[in-house]
């Protein structure tokens, strides 16, 4: 009798799980387009690579799909909320202060898309303080930007994926001569 109850419970659980459909959707291409746009806006003329135009896909990217399929409408990524605009503006205003340090190689673009102070060559203490402040503020804005994009687009649990896509854009649109961190932690001059 107990065995029958166990088998029955197991079958019931399988049946319940089979009926549940979990759609995990992440608009990677749209985020990539938005990232290129924002990076280009922030770095403006300093970036050599023209912003890649996001081309909305007819079908969403799907990381995992269980059970019954469920069509998703194409989704535009909104990067124009007041918060995002404020962050973009803040980053844009900061860019002019960062460019000299990026050009001279004292600041580089890390693998995670955040800035890193990689060298103190040629920097006096006051300049190092400025580098610290600029890098910390810039990275804080970038993290906040990724969080806000995720929130505004209902992707609150995808902040890490958004950051990774932005990291590609920051690296891709880095100006010639800037330092970019490689996977093994070394620095390459672009």
């Amino acid at each position: 009798m107990k065995r029958l109850v166990r088998i029955g419970s197991l079958l019931t659980a399988v049946a319940v799980v089979s009926c549940v459909t979990i759609n995990i959707y992440f608009p990677a291409e749209e985020v990539r387009g938005a990232a290129d746009k924002i990076v280009n806006e922030v770095w403006g003329d300093r970036s050599e690579t023209p912003p890649a135009q996001a081309e909305p896909k007819g079908q969403p990217s799907s990381f995992l799909r269980f059970g019954l399929s469920s069509a998703q409408a194409a989704q535009d990524i909104d990067v124009s909320t007041p918060e995002i605009r404020a962050i973009r503006e803040s980053m844009k205003q900061r860019a002019d202060s960062l460019f000299p340090y990026l050009d001279a190689g004292q600041v580089g673009i890390g693998r995670d898309g955040l800035l890193k102070a990689r060298s103190t060559d040629g920097l006096d203490l006051r300049s190092r303080g400025e580098v610290n402040r600029l890098v910390a503020a810039e990275n804080g804005d970038r993290q906040r930007l990724y969080t806000e994009i995720a929130r505004a687009n209902g992707l609150a649990d995808k902040t890490a994926e958004i950051q990774a896509i932005f990291a590609d854009s920051w690296r891709d649109q880095a100006a010639s001569g800037w330092f970019v961190e490689t996977k093994d932690g070394s620095w390459n001059r672009k």
């Binding site: 909320t81 404020a86 060298s119 103190t120 400025e130």
Partner: protein, 1046 residues
């Protein structure tokens, strides 16, 4: 002398025989004692040059007794014999023999040497008188030469025979019980007298391995023999010395034990051969014990030439041989000493050294001594050890040394050198009074073959080109003093590196230690990320285990230090210190009494930069360091930075515990902020540039930190504290009182209950914007990680009151949190909007915000704000403020309103007049700064009462809905109409993801009408836009509203 006496006695005996035969028996005693005895005394005394007395002579048949014989030569000898019996016959006398000679209780005292110049005739070819039976019983022999006194008691001799008489003798050597000795042997007198000892018992032990032969002749004595003791130790030697009264003085802690020592010797006129062999022996000094083996010494003298050689093995690891020769007046010799294992040898003296020394070596040299001058030359050469180890400290294998020395007139001079694999390492030259040592430049890496893996600390292994010299003087008291100089191009450890290191100083050996003067140390030191130039001047003294150093000046200049990433650090740092350091080498305790001044040029800590070139800190420290416990203790540490802060600290610091307490007092806060902080914080928030501070702060504090716990408790006391920040309207002045603080972090934070501390703050003025705090004491209650204010003084704002109660600030985990209850009553909106320079509103504002909490960077309210304005009520609830301290402040909440009089509202905001009563809500409102980024709003007018809408309002609604004005209202008859009637105004709008969507709800079952006109013409409807617009577009439309107003 003995032969002379023998002839005289023989003549006397003949005369006595003659007398006996010629006088009668009756006359014999009178004749002997009155006639013969004086003559005998005279003759014998003259022959012996001594005083001779005889108590009585008694002659019987073939026997004569001599009683009371006394012979004395003052200061030379004294002989007394109680009774002597001589038996003889005429026949034996004729043949020069005595049958018996019994000597009873003789006592012979030898007091000194006979006067010089005394001539002796030497031994006769034969004995003058042969005695067939000689017995000496109970005799005493005492030799007293100066301090030396030897005694032989209970002497018994039994000699039998005439040609080769055999004898047995026994005696007790020394005073008291004495040491029993027994001898036996034979005597000979052929050409010259001789004795052959066949037995010699010493304290019951037979000494002789072979007969010992004494041969006396006219030219001297010959002695040959071979003696062996079963054992000889210090105890036995001292016993014999005591018995023999020999002045043997051995070091008190010296002991030795020779097993079966054997000596063979042959003494002949002008020749001597001695061989001493000791198979095994041990010598002990204190706790040290040395084993000797195979000790053999051969000594030979021939005429005036002495030669000798010997060998011995010490501790099975040292094999030594030596030779020597002495030809008047020169002694020469050489020696060779081969050590197979210095570790084993040194281990006998200090067990720790057994594992620390590796290698063997050979010491080879020669010496000579002549006329008070001794020369010594020796070479040492290391040898590879038979057993290789890796845990040694010094390997002597590659080491060589050369030494030459001269001793002349008790003055030692010499020179030598130390070589490493043939390369000169150090040289020394000098005398016992003056010595100069020169260490040639060498890198410690080069002496690697000499050093074991643990000899040179890791931080010294990269010492390059270390060189030095020392000049040492030995004063009249035998104490050393001198000057030492040392330099090194580079000393590098794991982290510390010192370049251009120079050190010098003078030292003087004192009665109980060493004093050091003119100590100088300098160099350029660097650590990872930091460097600086160091210089030290001072003096010191070392007495036993204690030392004391007076630091005249310790200077550190050009100090730079940076964190590993170079993003924090300081430049142009400098330190100047003086004081006294004392300690104990055994207990490893260091006492400190230091005064220092320190400062820096530029300082950077992350984003905070300051130029402190004009500031200097003064530091006075009285404390100590316990190196074993790795603990720094400060009985008193005073720090003063003019115009910034002065502090007094007491406590301890170690890796496991930091526990100190103290007090501090700041300078004028305004000066501190302007001078030190403004430049640092201004880049972070430009508004802080306007910050103005006044007053001072003082604090008492106690800090205790263990590896998992941090506890800080104290009280901050503001004095006339003031703060003004124009941008926020914050203005505080006249702050005084006490603010208790208690912070604890770690697993024990909750396990340390403490009594809450009361505090109080008073402000002469506390304003923030239009709100002003009533002038009343602010009572505080502090406990661990918690600060409470049960009730604030009331805030006055726009005719109303703000009551803040139950304020609790805590630290939960590592995040600060705060909660309070805030109630707002009767704020007059007209006054408030006026004071805030806002659009004037009429009404009141009340709020019961419930519990306000701040956690996870969000300020949230469980209550609501109620605004009574425009004839209706507006309630704001679910209020939250995220990131209140950042530039990205976001306000969230829900707004519900009802009964709003549209006329009063539209007049107030000049939107265009409308009549009607408005109800609705704005839910999920999200304001980024002052800009909405999300909301869900719905509002509608009531379908009752007067409902008119002005053209201006219609136009504005059109702008909002359509993006532009409708030209129809400015044409025709419409241009003369100012108001239109409407039935209902209703709309639903949302803002989400920057998409603004507006729908009309004025007409039931339709989403098109924002304004549904009245029943009578002209009827005006405003249609909702058919599409969503971006919020950016909405903002543009709002901006146009402004323009429309103008």
């Amino acid at each position: 002398m003995t032969m002379i006496c023998g002839r005289q006695l023989l003549s006397l005996l003949l005369m006595l025989i003659f007398a006996q035969s010629t006088t009668q028996w009756w006359w014999r005693n009178r004749l002997f004692n009155e006639g013969l005895r004086p003559a005998v005394e005279y003759l014998v005394g003259r022959q012996l040059d001594a005083e001779v007395r005889i108590a009585g002579l008694h002659l019987a048949s073939s026997r004569m007794r001599i009683s009371g014989l006394h012979i004395e030569q003052p200061d030379v000898y004294r002989i007394s014999v109680a009774e002597t019996e001589i038996r003889f016959t005429l026949g034996s006398l004729w043949h020069g023999q005595l049958e018996t000679l019994y000597v009873q209780s003789p006592r012979v005292e030898i007091l000194g040497l006979p006067p010089s110049g005394t001539e002796t005739a030497g031994f006769p070819m034969r004995p003058p008188l042969e005695i067939a039976d000689l017995k000496i019983s109970d005799g005493d022999l005492i030799i007293q030469w100066g301090e030396l006194r030897q005694e032989l008691h209970s002497l018994n001799i039994d000699l039998q025979g005439t040609r080769n008489p055999r004898f047995e003798a026994s005696a007790r050597l020394g005073g008291g019980a004495g040491l029993p000795i027994a001898l036996s042997g034979t005597g000979t007198w052929d050409q010259r007298p001789g004795i052959t000892l066949t037995r010699f018992d010493w304290d019951g032990d037979a000494l002789l391995e072979a007969p010992l032969l004494f041969q006396l002749g006219s030219s001297g004595a010959s002695v040959a023999g071979n003696a062996r003791l079963p054992h000889l130790s210090r105890v036995e030697l001292e016993r014999v010395a005591a018995i023999l009264a020999l002045p043997v003085e051995l070091p008190p802690d010296l002991d030795f034990s020779f097993r079966t020592p054997e000596i063979s010797f042959a003494i002949r006129p002008a020749e001597l051969d001695v061989q001493l062999t000791v198979p095994t022996a041990s010598v002990r000094s204190g706790a040290q014990n040395l084993d000797l083996a195979a000790l053999a010494v051969n000594l030979r003298r021939q005429d005036d030439t002495w030669t000798g050689n010997g060998r011995f093995t010490l501790e099975k690891s040292v094999q030594s041989t030596f030779t020597l020769a002495y030809i008047e007046p020169k002694l020469t010799g050489d020696f060779t000493c081969v050590v197979t294992d210095f570790g084993a040898l040194a281990g006998r003296f200090a067990p720790d050294w057994k594992e620390q020394l590796l290698g063997g070596g050979m010491l080879k040299g020669n010496f000579s001594s002549e006329s008070g001058q001794t020369l010594l030359a020796a070479d040492f050469s290391g040898r590879r050890a038979t057993k290789q180890r890796t845990d040694f400290r010094i390997d002597l294998t590659p080491l060589q040394a050369r030494l030459t020395a001269e001793i002349k007139d008790s003055q030692l001079t010499g020179e030598g050198s130390l070589l490493l694999d043939g390369r000169p390492l150090a040289t020394f030259v000098g005398s016992s009074e003056k010595l100069k040592i020169v260490l040639n430049p060498v890198s410690l890496a080069e002496i690697g073959p000499l050093a074991g893996p643990t000899l040179i600390p890791e931080f010294l292994k990269d010492v390059e080109n270390v060189a030095g010299s020392a000049e040492l003087l030995n004063d009249s008291n035998g104490r050393w003093q001198g000057q030492v100089e040392m330099s090194a191009a580079r000393v590098r450890g794991e982290e510390l590196e010192i370049k251009e290191l120079v050190a010098s100083g003078r030292f003087r050996q004192q009665q109980h230690g060493i004093s050091l003067d003119d100590l100088n140390l300098g160099g350029k030191a660097s650590l990872p990320g930091g460097s600086g130039r160091l210089a030290l001047r001072g003096s010191g003294a070392l007495a036993g285990e204690t030392f004391q150093v007076k630091l005249a000046a310790v200077e550190a200049t050009e100090v730079e230090f940076f964190s590993s990433d170079g993003m924090s650090g300081l430049t142009d740092g400098h330190l100047s210190a003086s004081g006294q350091v004392s300690g104990n080498l055994t207990s490893r305790l260091l006492g400190l009494n230091l005064t220092a001044r320190l400062g820096a040029g530029e300082v950077l800590n992350g984003p905070y930069y300051a130029n402190l070139a004009d500031s200097e800190a003064r530091l006075d420290l009285q404390g100590g360091i316990d190196f074993d416990a790795r603990k720094l203790s400060a009985q008193s540490l005073d720090i003063e930075i003019p115009d910034l802060v002065s502090a007094h600290i007491e406590g301890i610091a170690s890796p496991d515990l930091v526990d100190f307490s103290g007090s501090l007092k700041t300078g004028e806060l305004g000066t501190i902020f302007d001078h030190y902080l403004k430049a640092a914080v201004e880049p972070l928030d430009p508004e802080l540039k306007e910050l103005a501070l006044t007053g001072t702060l003082s604090a008492d504090f106690a800090l205790r930190r263990s590896p998992d716990t941090l506890v800080v408790r104290g009280t901050v006391q503001p004095r006339e504290f003031g703060l003004k920040l124009a941008s926020s309207g914050l203005d505080i002045s006249g702050g005084n009182g006490q603010l208790p603080l208690s912070f604890s972090q770690g697993p024990s934070a909750d396990r340390e209950p403490e009594e809450p501390l009361n505090g109080i703050l008073n402000f002469s003025s506390f304003k923030t914007g239009p709100a002003r705090l009533e002038n009343a004491p602010l009572h505080l209650l502090s406990s661990t990680n918690r600060l409470e204010v049960r009730e604030f003084p009331l805030w006055n704002l726009a005719g109303g009151k703000i009551r803040v109660t139950d304020l609790v600030a805590t630290i939960e985990g590592k995040q600060p949190a705060m909660a309070a209850r805030i109630r707002v009553d009767d704020i007059d909106l007209k006054t408030l909007t006026s004071e805030l320079d806002m659009t004037g509103m009429i009404g009141t504002l009340s709020a019961d915000l419930g519990e306000i909490r701040y956690a996870e960077q969000t300020l949230s309210s469980a209550g609501q704000v109620t605004i009574s304005a425009f004839g209706g009520t507006t309630v704001i609830s679910n209020i939250r403020l995220r990131d209140p301290a950042s530039n990205y402040r976001t306000l969230l909440g829900d707004v519900d309103f009802s009964g709003i009089d549209l006329y009063r509202l539209t007049r107030t905001f000049e939107f265009g007049e409308m009549n009607g009563i408005l109800d609705g809500h704005i839910h999920h409102l999200r304001l980024f700064g002052t800009v909405p980024s999300q909301f869900d709003a719905e509002l509608a007018t009531r379908e009752e009462g007067r409902r008119n809408i002005s053209v201006k309002a219609l136009n504005n609604i059109s702008i909002l809905s359509q993006g532009g004005l409708s030209a129809a209202l400015s044409r025709g008859i419409y241009r003369f109409i100012d108001f239109y009637r409407y039935q209902k105004i209703g709309l639903r709008c949302t803002l989400d993801n920057d998409v603004f969507r507006m729908q009309g709800t004025a007409l039931e079952d339709s989403e098109d009408y924002l304004v549904y006109g009245g029943l009578l013409p002209p009827k005006i409807d405003i249609i909702a836009p058919g599409r969503d617009i971006s919020f950016k577009e909405m903002l543009k439309r709002l901006s146009r509203l402004d323009r429309a107003d103008r």
